[in-house]
């Protein structure tokens, strides 16, 4: 038997093996994509309805006798007036046939309790409203919202659902009169947290995350890049530096909650910084991101061909000039990619923020770095703990917003890697 025949006889087997291997790979990719689609699909299916909200149209009479009995337009009086009474009155007029204390209470409860504050804000903004009747769209209670979105099964026995037949009857009659409808949920993007799902929004959490990420970036990017440059270019090769390198690599693998404990012990208990604030959250996330950025920056510095550095040194550039004029510009896209991926990780991080108190219930969006705040992933965590059906869909909607930010950040990283990288 000659060599060629031997090769030919084995060829079919080798081709089969290769085909099989390719099939394994394809299966893995398809499975991965399927799980991803399933995950995204379920989140989207749960969450997309939270971007709309049910509103009820009410002719509100801004009764001077209720909100401004003295007629002085005093700010304090107007601020603390009983606007809920206006809502109740409007609802009773809409359904004059309803009588009885319990029934009337049910009727008023169809409108969100937060509506009173909205009416207050409208009045304080425009005092001329007092004494007039306006048609106002007010957010419905979350149970009504759920009914409108089809989450409440009308076929269940009355005592097993959250709304009784009477209330469903009111909703249906309003629906016929076009006095109730679903609209885009601006509250979700414009409000802070609330106990009432229909009043709850992610603005506070978004602001908190944004402020914390600014602190994270300011802390970890300069320090990370400087550390990477020093370790790559200037550090002497000795055991001490080796030890530092090993520790940086270890830090990258430390569970994030440990960083939270560290932040609690150092920043809050020792330095006495205020708890629940973006500045502390940002510092903790910055420490957590630091090793990631150092490692990514070192890798991208290493990936610059040494010939470029040699060329610079060869014409008499100092080591710093070679680094800053030639190596860093080429390494920058890689560094930025690492930084953005590190920041994306920081954005999605929950555990360390729990330790430093950013898990608190905070209604007002933070206005600065030292004001109490929460963060987007923590907000998701908080809402996922709430029993109301309205919060379940808001949890998914908040996850969608978080995912949108993460995808945008990662896309920016990919863009930087592809477009800004200098070819050589």
């Amino acid at each position: 038997m000659n060599p060629t025949k031997q090769i030919v006889s084995g060829l079919a087997r080798r081709q089969r093996a290769e085909k099989r291997f390719r099939l394994y790979g394809l299966t893995a990719v398809v499975l991965g994509m399927a799980f991803l689609l399933l995950l995204f699909g379920s989140i989207v299916a749960n969450g997309y309805k939270a971007f709309t909200q049910t509103y009820i149209e009410l002719p509100i009479y801004f009764d001077p006798a209720v909100i401004d009995p003295s007629g002085e337009r005093d700010h304090q009086t107007l601020f603390s007036a009983d606007y809920w009474k206006l809502v109740k009155t409007a609802m009773y007029q809409k359904f004059p046939q309803v009588s009885g204390r319990k029934e009337r209470r049910e009727l008023a409860r169809m409108v969100s309790e937060g509506s009173a504050y909205e009416l207050r804000d409208q009045v304080l903004e425009n005092l001329r409203l007092i004494g007039t009747t306006q048609h106002v769209w007010l957010a419905a209670d979350d149970d009504i919202d759920m009914l409108m979105k089809g989450y409440i099964d009308r076929n269940l026995p009355e005592d097993e659902r959250r709304l009784n037949d009477r209330v469903i009857g009111y909703v249906d009659s309003m629906r016929e009169a076009d006095a109730i409808e679903r609209r885009f949920n601006t509250t979700f993007f414009a409000a802070g947290d609330s106990r009432e799902p229909e009043q709850a929004g992610i603005l506070g959490a978004l602001m908190g995350s944004f402020l914390a990420l600014i602190v994270t970036l300011l802390l970890s990017f300069p320090i990370g890049v400087a550390a990477a440059v020093y370790l790559e270019e200037f550090a002497p090769r000795n055991r001490f530096i080796d030890l530092i390198e090993i520790n940086i690599n270890n830090l990258a693998a430390v569970p994030s909650i440990i960083f939270g404990l560290l932040g609690l012990a150092i920043f809050i208990n020792w330095f006495g910084m205020p708890r629940s604030t973006p500045v502390v959250g940002g510092l903790v996330l910055g420490l957590m991101t630091l090793p990631t950025i150092i490692i990514a920056s070192r890798v991208s510095i290493q990936s610059v061909p040494p010939s470029i550095k040699e060329a610079a040194l060869g014409v008499g550039a100092s080591r710093m000039q070679a680094m800053f004029h030639h190596v860093l510009p080429i390494a920058t896209p890689g560094m930025l990619t690492g930084t953005i991926i590190g920041m994306a990780r920081a954005l999605g991080e929950t555990a360390p923020l729990l330790m430093i108190g950013m898990v608190a219930f905070i209604v007002d969006p933070p206005g600065g770095f030292t004001e109490p705040a929460t963060a987007l992933p923590v907000q998701i965590f908080l809402w996922s703990d709430s029993p109301e059906r309205g919060f379940t869909e808001r949890t998914s909607a908040a996850i969608l917003v978080l995912l949108a930010f993460l995808i945008a950040m990662n896309a920016a990283a990919v863009y930087l890697r592809e477009k800004v990288t200098k070819r050589f």
């Binding site: 040194l313 100092s318 050589f424």
Partner: protein, 288 residues
């Protein structure tokens, strides 16, 4: 099918055994005069170590003014290492240690007072693989003069760049696209750009580390011609694997073997009447 029939080249019955004489037993002290009358740089009793491993043993050699000295020898003989000692490029290699004395105009290159930045401005280098910066052709050449502050204004700088490119024989090819990236040139053009970059800072010595090994014969001929031109103004040390190249471009040749400088002398003598057995074996192509 009979495989022996398909072979086009007949295999001789028996190969002559390579006539390599016992390398280790031979005396490796330098044969020939390593000094020149008016040296630009002097290497004296230099030993170089990479960690525990010694790469250069007691090498002494002069780099003459306005002359080309070629360093030849088999791979791993230490010629590149020695070349990089001359402008302290070995400093960048971890664990590299240089003992002995390298002098430039009587000053110790490895002395405390010697700034490697100044040294490398005076001793330029052209590398094995063309390594232009990923910047424009103009900026490649202008970089050296800029960082050393050799030019007062833009007009000055443009003149330096033009002169350097002209001396490197590249000006005609690139004058219309000075703002194009240097990395877009052909290999030979890139290497000439690197030479232009090196001479833009007006060095006194130019070190060339196998400058043609990545180039085709035409580009190689172009560079060799250029080296002949540059010799009028600069002192040149060139490491090469090609003996023909050494014979064509250099006036003196140094033959290295396993870290020893085995023989040095005028190029003509080395290639016609080598004195050392190893040199003879190498240049006649019996090993390498």
């Amino acid at each position: 099918m009979n495989t022996t029939e398909t072979l086009a080249i007949p295999i001789p019955e028996q190969l002559d055994p390579p006539a390599i004489t016992g390398k280790v037993d031979l005396d490796l002290t330098t044969v020939g005069d390593f000094t020149v009358p008016d040296p630009r740089m002097k290497i004296r009793d230099v030993n170089v170590f990479y960690g525990q491993k010694q790469a250069i043993y007691d090498v002494s050699l002069d780099i003459g003014s306005n002359a080309v000295v070629a360093m030849i020898g088999p791979s791993g003989c230490g010629k590149t290492t020695l070349l990089r000692c001359l402008n302290r490029m070995n400093d960048t290699i971890d664990g590299c240690r240089v003992e002995g004395r390298v002098e430039m105009d009587g000053k110790n290159v490895y002395g405390r007072k010697m700034d490697p930045v100044l040294l490398r401005a005076r001793v330029g280098m052209v590398f094995q693989k063309p390594n232009p910066f990923p910047k424009s052709i103009f900026d490649n050449v202008a970089y050296g003069p800029r960082i050393h502050g050799l030019v007062r204004d833009r007009t000055d700088l443009e003149e330096v760049v033009h002169t350097s490119l002209e001396r490197a024989g590249l000006l005609d090819e690139v004058k219309d696209r000075m703002d194009q990236p240097g990395t877009g040139l052909s290999g030979g053009q890139q290497q000439r750009l690197c030479i232009a970059r090196a001479i833009a800072v007006s060095p006194e010595v130019i070190l060339m580390d196998e400058p043609c090994s990545a180039l085709d014969p035409i580009a190689t001929a172009r560079i060799e011609e250029l080296i002949g031109e540059l010799r009028k103004n600069f002192s040149i040390a060139i490491v090469t694997h090609s003996m023909q190249q050494a014979a064509r471009v250099s006036q003196r040749t140094a033959y290295f073997h396993l870290g020893y400088l085995v023989e040095v002398g005028s190029t003509k003598d080395i290639f016609t009447t080598p004195k050392h057995q190893l040199t003879e074996e190498y240049i006649t192509g019996r090993f390498g």
